[in-house]
Amino acid sequence: MHNNPILRISTKILFAPIILFGLYVQFHGDFGPGGGFQAGVIVASAFILYSLVFGIEEGKKLFPTNINLILLALGGIVYGGVGIVSMILGDEFLAYNILGSSPQSGQHIGILLVEFGVGLTVSNVMIALFNAFASYDKVKEK
């Protein structure tokens, strides 16, 4: 697969639009179908496509494993952090009304941040899962 020019070039062309589509789904989730879960999977699929065509080592160069693991945990922290912040500001856990100037803008900010946390966790979990399965053979040989 590594020497097929059609696959290599079409992957390079497709990579950025897939990420862009993922971001669109992430931040347009308030108005149409979409949200953190779907966007996370779409963004992950761009990196998985790259790893499939150029090999798992190149994929790990593009998106290093340690960054992947940090972001994996960061998503949950962002989600929980929004709840903690709303508690510090004097409301209940994950009550977004207090985050903005008006209840509605508070809800907007809260939902945006929470969906971002979900997207971060889901995309990084999917990339980590694929990497773990794809590099399993090398672990075995050691």
Binding site: P33, Q38, L69, L72, Y79, E115, N124, A132, F133, Y136
Partner: protein, 192 residues
């Protein structure tokens, strides 16, 4: 309305035929591809049943990522499924009996699409009203997901995180645990 239901009935019958093919096949690659097709038809079903968000998720997760994971795992596993020695009669019989009981109970379920069904009475109307007034977000699914049911989604995110960490722990720590584990086992064999 009838045409919508007919499309539904047609799609769900396709799913049934895919599932029957899954029982018959013994090749692993065929199994994986059929599972992917099953998810894709399920996504089509979700669109005709007005669940666009769910359809989106099922198409990207069920038909996309899970197929890739199955294919990646398949590379290390035997390619053929062996004929089993033990009889499949008792499991099949119990499944058929359970299925008949469930179908018998289905006559008490409300018909598809009845506005008077109990599920539509309790809390959903409040969410639909509140999504416009309290939250101001057009997509009701997002507002329920992230705001009204924020605790649930937090829990689900943690579950996804935990599953990912568990897979990493199972697949990557292999070389250290394997040596410790396999040596005592061989010793016992020699003694026997």
């Amino acid at each position: 309305m009838i045409s919508e239901l007919l499309i539904n009935a047609f799609l769900v019958t396709i799913m049934l035929s895919i599932a029957i093919a899954l029982i018959k096949t013994r090749t692993v690659i065929f199994t994986v591809i059929l599972t992917s097709a099953y998810s894709l038809v399920a996504a089509l079903m979700f669109i005709t049943l007005d669940a666009v968000d769910v359809a989106f998720t099922e198409a990207s997760v069920g038909a996309g990522i899970s197929t890739i994971l199955f294919l990646a795992a398949m590379a290390y596993l035997p390619k053929k499924e062996e004929e089993s020695i033990s009889s499949e009669f008792i499991p099949a019989l119990s499944c058929i009996i359970l299925g008949v009981i469930l179908i018998w109970c289905s006559f008490d379920l409300p018909e598809i699409g009845q506005l008077t069904a109990p599920i539509h009475q309790h809390i959903a109307p409040e969410y639909i009203k509140g999504s416009k007034e309290d939250i101001g977000i057009p997509n009701i699914v997002t507002s329920v997901l992230a705001s009204y049911r924020g605790y649930d989604t937090f829990g689900e995110t943690i579950v996804v995180f935990t599953a990912g960490v568990a897979v990493l722990a199972l697949l990557e720590k292999k070389n250290t645990t394997k040596k410790n584990k396999s040596q005592p086992k061989q010793k016992i064999r020699k003694n026997a």
